[in-house]
Structures are given as C-alpha cells and as structure tokens.
Amino acid sequence: MTHAVAVPAPIPVRIPIREILPYALFAGVLSLIALYFVGAEQGALAVFDGTYVHELVHDARHLLGFPCH
C-alpha cells in the first residue's frame, strides 16, 4: 500500500539530448548512407563507377519515389 502500483502507460521521460547525439551521429550517418544507395547512387551522383547498384535497386528507387533516370 505504500508503493505506487506499476503505471500501465509510463510517464514520458525525456532522453537527454547529449545521450542521443553520439548515436544520432553514428547510426544516422550509416542510415543515411543506406538511403543514399537506394535513392540516388549511380543516378545523378556516383561513388562507384558503373550501373550495377542502379540496376539492382532500380525498381525500389522508382517505387519509393526517387528520380531514377
């Protein structure tokens, strides 16, 4: 009776920004690279020569709405 019963919906707790930032930088950059390769590589921009990446993700790029060619 002295203790609060577990709350089904926890009270929102803010994660301090300084705790998020290192993850945001590291995982954010990796994630953006993944999005870049599906969305734009070997289209308007190219890190690697050739058309392999473009052709591999061709249909996904079109259907995800990115300009393809």
């Binding site: 203790h3 609060a4 577990a6 709350v7 089904p8 919906a9 926890p10 009270i11 929102p12 707790v13 803010r14 994660i15 920004i17 705790e19 998020i20 993850y23 945001a24 995982a27 954010g28 990796l30 994630s31 953006l32 690279i33 993944a34 999005l35 390769f37 599906v38 969305g39 734009a40 070997q42 289209g43 308007a44 921009l45 050739g50 058309t51 392999y52 473009h54 052709e55 591999l56 993700v57 061709h58 249909d59 996904a60 790029r61 079109h62 259907l63 995800l64 709405g65 990115f66 300009p67 393809c68 060619h69």
Partner: protein, 266 residues
C-alpha cells in the same frame, strides 16, 4: 514526486538509445519486407508496362541501328544489363526495399528518441505513431506532391541531376519546416493551449511547403504517348509502398517499445 521516482528510473533504464535503435532496425526490417510485398504485388505491373513502353519507344527511334543501344545511359539495352530484369523486379526490389527500410528504421528510432517526452503528454506508443505519420507527411507526401514519382520511360536523362537535387531539397526543406512547426507549436502551447497551437503550426507548415513547392521549378517530362492510367497506377502504388513502410515501422516499433517498457516496469 516520491511516487513517480521509481517509475522514472526504471523507465530510464529501459529507454536507452541503444534499445530504441535495435527496435527501430527491427521495425525497419519488417517494414522493408512488407513494402517489398506491396511493391511487387501492386507496383511491379505498372513498372513492367512502363518498361515495355520505353523499349518499344527506343526501338522505334533507332530502327536502322543494329545494336539498339540508344536508350539512355542509365538503362542499357537488354543484352548489356548487369542485373537481369527478372532479378531487378524480385531480388533487387527486395534488397532495395529492405536496405531502405533498415536505414529509415534507424533514423526513425533516433527521431523518436528526440520526440519522446517533448511532444506534450503523448504516450510512448502515441509518440511512435505520431513520428511515423509526420515522417510520412514531411518526407513522402510533400515531396511526392511537389515532384511526383515517375515510372521508367518518364523523365529525361538530361535533367536527372537537377531533379534529384530538387527532390532531396524539398525533402530537406519539408523536414526542417516540420521540425520548426513542432517547436513553434510546443512554445505556443503554453499561451494558446495545445489545440490552437497545433492548428496554427500545422497551417504554418502547409503554407510554407506550398509556397516552396510552387516556387521551385517543375518538370513535365511525361511523353505524350504515355498512358495516363499506367502513370496513375504507378504513382498510387508508389505512395502505397511508402505508406506500408512508414505504417509498419510505426506500429512494429510502438509494439516493441511498449513490450520493452512494460516488461521492465511490470
């Protein structure tokens, strides 16, 4: 305060950015797979039709040329393809959708980490869905309405650089406008209350992105002979693919988050 203290600390320990990232990547994986399923069922037919039109058009242009390698650089003729059409429309689509899903899921979980506890009194799951919904609005719907998705055979090779830059540009502007609108809504909430501050911020966002979209150059590169119904079908499938992706990420992440939070506290 003493009553809420234990809950706060237990939730704090469950709510690490690391576990959010793992849940985000899992949600992104599931979202990518479901988006792949949706895209192959409802998107591929119009892509195949469009490629058929593209190839027929290309063939008509260089009747005399034996090689038939006239089609623009990015889309070599069938015999020089590095990845066969059969694989592009199945494995390639799957790899692309899952890679995109994982990347988006990761970024989504980081966005959630920033948003949770900073969007008024929204619960964890409501915040998860709000982030997914607002992400879809800012990163899919607004860019799509500015520069609609185009199937193969639509779009000129010469403008691909410009179109790509502008597409990423409107994504960026829309995202920045959304973040500013949310910050403004939170600031105004103290004075106007949650309802009117949200309405005002929403209106502000819509006005800004509409003005930007109208100010940016537009491209009309749909060939006259391209059937409107195929274009419509493709574009609806494109919106649907992203909708499946964002909705799945939101729902799966919310479920994992809720499980993680309640298991540790309960």
């Amino acid at each position: 305060m003493p009553l809420t203290e234990p809950d706060r600390t237990t939730e704090q320990s469950a709510l690490t950015v690391r576990s959010l990232l793992v849940w985000g990547l899992l949600a992104g994986l599931v979202g990518g797979l479901l988006a792949f399923g949706f895209a192959s069922a409802f998107g591929e037919p119009s892509v195949e039709t469009a490629i058929g039109i593209e190839e027929a058009g290309g063939a008509a242009h260089d009747h005399g040329a034996e090689a038939g390698g006239h089609s623009h650089g990015a889309e070599p003729a069938a015999e020089e393809e590095e990845v066969s059409r059969a694989f592009q429309s199945t494995g390639g689509l799957g790899i692309g959708a899952v890679a995109y899903g994982l990347g988006l899921g990761g970024l989504y979980s980081l966005a959630f980490a920033f948003a949770y506890g900073r969007l008024g009194r929204l619960t964890a799951r409501a915040t998860a869905l709000a982030v997914a919904g607002l992400g879809y609005l800012a990163l899919v719907l607004v860019p799509f309405l500015t520069y609609p998705a185009n199937p193969p055979a639509v779009g000129k090779g010469e403008t691909i650089g410009e179109r790509t830059g502008l597409f990423f540009g409107i994504m960026g502007i829309s995202l920045v406008a959304l973040v500013l609108a949310i910050v403004a809504a939170r600031k105004l909430a103290a004075r106007w209350g949650g309802w009117w501050s949200t309405v005002a911020a929403g209106l502000g966002y819509v006005v800004v992105v509409t003005a930007v979209a109208k100010a940016l150059p537009s491209f009309n590169e749909v060939p006259d002979s391209f059937p409107g119904s195929v274009l419509w079908e493709f574009r609806v499938a494109s919106l649907g693919t992203s909708a499946v992706l964002y909705a799945t990420i939101g729902v799966v992440f919310a479920a994992l988050l809720h499980r993680g939070l309640t298991r540790k506290t309960g």
